[in-house]
């Protein structure tokens, strides 16, 4: 790989990993709330989580621009109070990737949480575990397959995210030009096919890596899972 390609890969990995790492707990929290609680507004929350999946990514990017942009309500607040600027920064690319990956992660996790037998949670409670300990020692580990599946889906979605990123974070080399944006940029050039193919193969290899990692993690916990499930 050329140094320029290295830079793109490094940036993409940084953006994607941060996006997935930040989204994992949020997604799990949402999945848990949606799976285990009945409250007014639950349906609205469900719909809201799905939104980035339904809207064309460009629109999501535009909404992010209106909200987190320097003139947007949250963006202005972040910039004035914390000095954090998201637009046109790699952090903005991470935000866009995170938002796009969220619905996929929530669904997979929710599916696994709903499959956890509540009788086991009950058993933990009689053994003296409070709600919190029962959650961390029973629900959370038993929904691991969903966390891993959600992680893989989220990683793949985040590393491939294009529309929201270019709209919200722009296409700035070294700052927000992730793999998909680099591919797009090359695709606009006549004769860019070879560069496109090279970059696409790199993207594929990266996510194969994520896939292998997740399968390995699943297998590591297979001693129990192969039987539990």
């Amino acid at each position: 790989m050329s140094p320029a390609e290295w830079q793109i890969v490094a940036l993409s990995l940084r953006v994607t990993l941060i996006a997935v790492a930040m989204t994992l707990p949020v997604a799990y929290g949402l999945a848990w709330v949606l799976a285990r609680n009945r409250f007014p507004g639950r349906f609205l929350l469900d719909a809201l989580v799905h939104l980035p999946l339904v809207l064309p990514p460009v629109v999501t990017g535009y909404v992010l621009l209106l909200t987190f942009g320097r003139n947007g309500p949250i963006g202005a607040f972040l910039e004035q109070t914390l000095g954090i600027s998201l637009v046109f920064h790699w952090t903005g690319a991470a935000l866009a990737a995170a938002v796009m990956a969220l619905p996929l992660m929530v669904r997979a996790m929710r599916l696994s949480i709903e499959a956890v037998d509540r009788k086991l949670v009950d058993a933990a409670r009689t053994l003296g575990a409070g709600r919190l300990r029962a959650f961390f020692t029973v629900t959370l580990p038993l929904s691991l397959p969903g966390i891993l599946a959600g992680g893989v889906l989220g990683f793949a979605r985040a590393i491939g995210e294009f529309g929201a990123t270019i709209t919200f974070a722009a296409n700035i080399p070294g700052e927000t030009r992730t793999l998909p944006l680099a591919i797009y940029t090359k695709l606009q050039l006549p004769g860019g096919e070879i560069a496109v193919a090279r970059l696409a193969i790199i993207a594929v290899i990266l996510s194969l890596g994520a896939l292998i990692l997740s399968e390995w993690l699943v297998r590591r916990s297979a001693g129990k899972d192969a039987h539990v499930l």
């Binding site: 621009l65 209106l66 003139n71 637009v87 070294g174 006549p190």
Partner: protein, 234 residues
């Protein structure tokens, strides 16, 4: 971020090749490297409207310059035309192949046979110019069923190159700079609005070199670069 860098330039994707060459020329002159962000003119304009940090905007679409002027984001007196373009009818062909004159279809036949691609008239400037021409030539209704609206001028070129389209109404610049595209006829420029690429210094720009780069874009040296890629010069 610690390295010194030149101005941030938001530019229409169709200008990618000449601008990248100009960017290296700029560095060769001892300047700090530019930051180039390519996207569609519309995407860039919306980003500028929402407070982008860029110093310069180079648009392929007058509409969006007007939009930003109306929105009070920029001053139209600062707008400079840096290049122009024109339309051609183009097909896929071997490099340097000269078409025997009897094989060249008439314009009417060209736009009413098989699939002809151009930009989407609603979203892509290329397509808007093509529609203007077809309307003025009285060919629009006959051609419309044959048109495949592509999402950018680059995408239209791709469709011709992989021969999913039998031909295209494309920018002369693309036909001139791409080996396997053969322009078989030029479209009279007066049949559509002028195709101009406008550069403008954004009022929010704080970079000391931004003005200089705009001057450089309008220089003879820059014009030669644009011309090398098939663009017209103002």
């Amino acid at each position: 971020a610690s390295q010194p860098r030149g101005p941030i330039v938001f530019a229409a994707s169709s200008l990618q090749k000449p601008l990248e060459e100009l960017a290296s020329l700029w560095v060769e002159k001892g300047n700090d490297p530019l930051v180039l962000s390519f996207a569609s003119s519309a995407t860039l304009a919306r980003q500028i409207d929402n407070g982008s940090l860029s110093d310069l905007y180079i648009s392929a679409d007058e509409q969006w310059i007007e939009y930003l002027v109306t929105a009070g984001r920029l001053d139209d007196s600062a707008v400079r035309v840096v290049a122009t373009n024109s339309l051609v009818l183009a097909i896929y062909g071997e490099e340097g192949a000269l078409l025997a004159s009897q094989n060249v279809p008439t314009t009417r036949k060209f736009v009413t046979t098989g699939k002809i691609t151009t930009g989407d008239p609603e979203t892509v400037p290329l397509g808007r110019f093509a529609e203007q021409w077809l309307q003025s030539a009285g060919l629009w209704d006959a051609a419309k069923p044959h048109l495949v609206p592509a999402q950018s001028s680059g995408a239209a070129v791709k469709l011709v190159l992989i021969r999913e389209a039998d031909g295209g109404i494309l920018y002369a610049s693309d036909a001139a700079s791409i080996k396997r595209l053969v322009a078989i006829r030029a479209i009279p420029p007066e049949s559509h609005s002028p195709i101009v690429y406008q550069a403008v210094l954004l009022p929010s720009s704080a970079h000391p070199d931004a003005g200089d780069f705009l001057e450089f874009l309008a220089s003879d040296e820059a014009r030669q670069a644009f011309a090398r890629y098939g663009f017209g010069v103002p």
